[in-house]
Symmetry: C2
Subunit: 362 residues, 2 copies
């Protein structure tokens, strides 16, 4: 008989520790059931449903204007293109593990012919000295808060202020990859508008902490967002109807935007459980948002075996996958959402006792 995979066992587990629950059709059904069917669709970027939400988000972000996009990939390439065109310089800078660098098939380079300078090394966030040390002019600097691919690390707020002031002084536009902006507000103890005030343009996403279906907002001054609409059409993102994404973004925004403090506190608790185990550590050790990475001093296959066994024994799933880092180390990402508080605390502690034992044995 074929052994069940970690993913299969994880999906069948009674309690899943990370996330908001399955990405199944319920996510949309729940939204649609409460909707008045006679509400009109948006129509190529116009209409009440899209305009109201754009206003709501521009106010939340403290920006003059906001445009809804089907994806962040589209929104961010366009933001950087606009700033490059404005300065007449097709060069930007961002982190080596920026989404545009590693997840977008080089769209920024292939479609927009924008040159990129990679700032800081892969293991840490961008600091002021990295920006000061740039030896070529750039039109725009992109900061991702938190830096997802290194466990969701953050610079200090003072560093953000200093980078912002430096960029304004040097005529460098500062763009925020705020895919997880909601999630970092409790750590900084700032409002979204206070963070965004440091940036010229901001992208936010609705399917990470918010748990919507898809979609993004790009915000900034009116001139900037109006130009972004033209590029949205060029990219093929100005759909006749975006409302399935908009109404679910709005629904889950209202449901979850004020739960980020809870997720953050729970992430710190969960990370502490991991860090008590032998040969297990989280990055960061103390999370600064609802997310972190779990690192194992054990090979991917070994961890899959251990985690599958624990999940089958306890009915609690910690993860559905493990990634190889080196031949002897592995990791995965954790984002805390609605599910965490449903897991019985005693049972969860038992999971980590088991994990600790198995890590010592192996």
């Amino acid at each position: 008989m074929r052994m069940e995979t970690l993913l299969e066992v994880y999906k069948q587990s009674k309690y899943q520790v990370p996330g908001h629950g399955k990405r199944d059709f319920h996510v949309l059904k729940r939204v649609m059931e409460g909707m008045d069917g006679q509400q009109e669709s948006d129509l190529y970027g116009k209409g009440k449903v899209i305009e109201d939400f754009q206003v709501k988000m521009s106010e939340y972000l403290g920006k003059e204007s906001a445009v809804f996009f089907p994806s962040g990939t589209m929104a961010q390439q366009i933001a950087l293109r606009i700033w490059c065109d404005q300065k007449g310089l097709k060069r930007v800078a961002y982190h080596p593990l920026c989404h545009l660098e590693i997840h977008e098939e080089d769209g920024l380079k292939e479609l927009h012919h924008i040159e990129v300078i990679l700032l800081a090394d892969k293991s840490r966030v961008i600091e002021l000295d990295d920006v000061i040390g740039l030896n070529k002019d750039i039109a725009c600097l992109l900061l991702e808060l938190p830096q997802r691919e290194i466990g969701g690390q953050l610079p200090s707020y003072e560093t953000l202020e200093a980078i912002s002031a430096y960029c304004r002084d040097k005529g460098i536009r500062l763009h925020l990859d705020g895919a997880r902006l909601f999630e970092i507000l409790p750590y900084y103890k700032k409002s979204a508008a206070e963070i965004c005030e440091l940036f010229d343009s901001v992208y936010i996403s609705f399917y990470k902490g918010i748990g919507g279906i898809a979609g993004a907002i790009l915000a900034g001054e009116k001139d900037f967002t109006e130009t972004s609409r033209v590029w949205k059409r060029r990219h093929g993102g100005d759909l006749i109807s975006l409302y399935p994404y908009i109404i679910s973004a709005d629904y889950y925004f209202d449901m979850r935007v004020n739960k980020m403090e809870q997720y953050y506190e729970e992430a710190k608790e969960l990370a502490a459980f991991y860090n008590q185990c032998d040969r297990v550590s989280t990055m960061p050790i103390v999370p600064v948002s609802n997310m972190f990475h779990v690192h194992f001093e054990a090979a991917k296959e070994k961890m899959e075996t251990i985690l599958t066994a624990i999940s089958k024994e306890t009915g609690i799933g910690l993860t559905g996958y493990v990634r190889e880092v080196t031949k002897e180390t592995s990791n995965y990402e954790v984002s805390v959402g609605d599910l965490y508080s449903q897991v019985p605390k005693g049972a969860l502690k038992n999971v980590f006792q088991l994990l600790n034992e198995k890590m010592k044995e192996n």
Copy 2:
């Protein structure tokens, strides 16, 4: 008191003559109500919901492979880009009123730097002689069937075959803008696969005759569609979840794909009603699909007044807008859908009697 606009009166009319009905949230609610909520979302182009539909469409179109896109704008730019890259020649040809030329903010030129040769003049479809007469090499020829902006005209099937054979002989890729492909099958008396066999790549849409929410399919050989996935990601179209569009495309495809013959017959009947009126004519005189344009030898404002009055008097709405063509002429587009057969025939004949009288009076 402010006069009601034509659009307002049209929206309130008891019967609307064109279309499938309002683009409101019911369109999605109806689909979701019948869905099993436990079905999993697609995930960045993978998963049962997207893969099953892609297979279904590739089989329907008689192509090896198909990829679901959020929009035709994205799918078609990408198709032309792939054919240009394959030939190492960034030049294509299409009709002067092609969607890419007039509705996409020059995305093809701004993002893909592809040069375009406009074939045929604006008032007619592309014929074989236009293609033979090309004085520069091209990588790809795009044909739009039917040619929407001139009322949905079609070349003869023999012309299609001759253009296809010529292009194959000359190493020119032939791409089909099949936004309204379903709608032309009754006229040609061909299957979709028979038409598509003449083309190297095909785009179809799900919110015209099919009446879905948004979305498109791009189909062709496997190498072609695999490359299109890379460009889909670059464009920002590889969303984490496209299922709201996919399941509604599938739902309305099953509901309406076999009603195209009915819409076509009804369009011919409706066009005949228009053509009986003074200073009114349709383009084409006899429709070749479910669509046509209605031309008036009267100014836009005059027609708005007449059509508003008729709609208020009869409760039947012929259109929600009129476009200016010249100072003394105007037009609008008609696409026949589910609503036409619900309009009482006697009342409809009365509408056209009124229209004829008012056109004679004014």
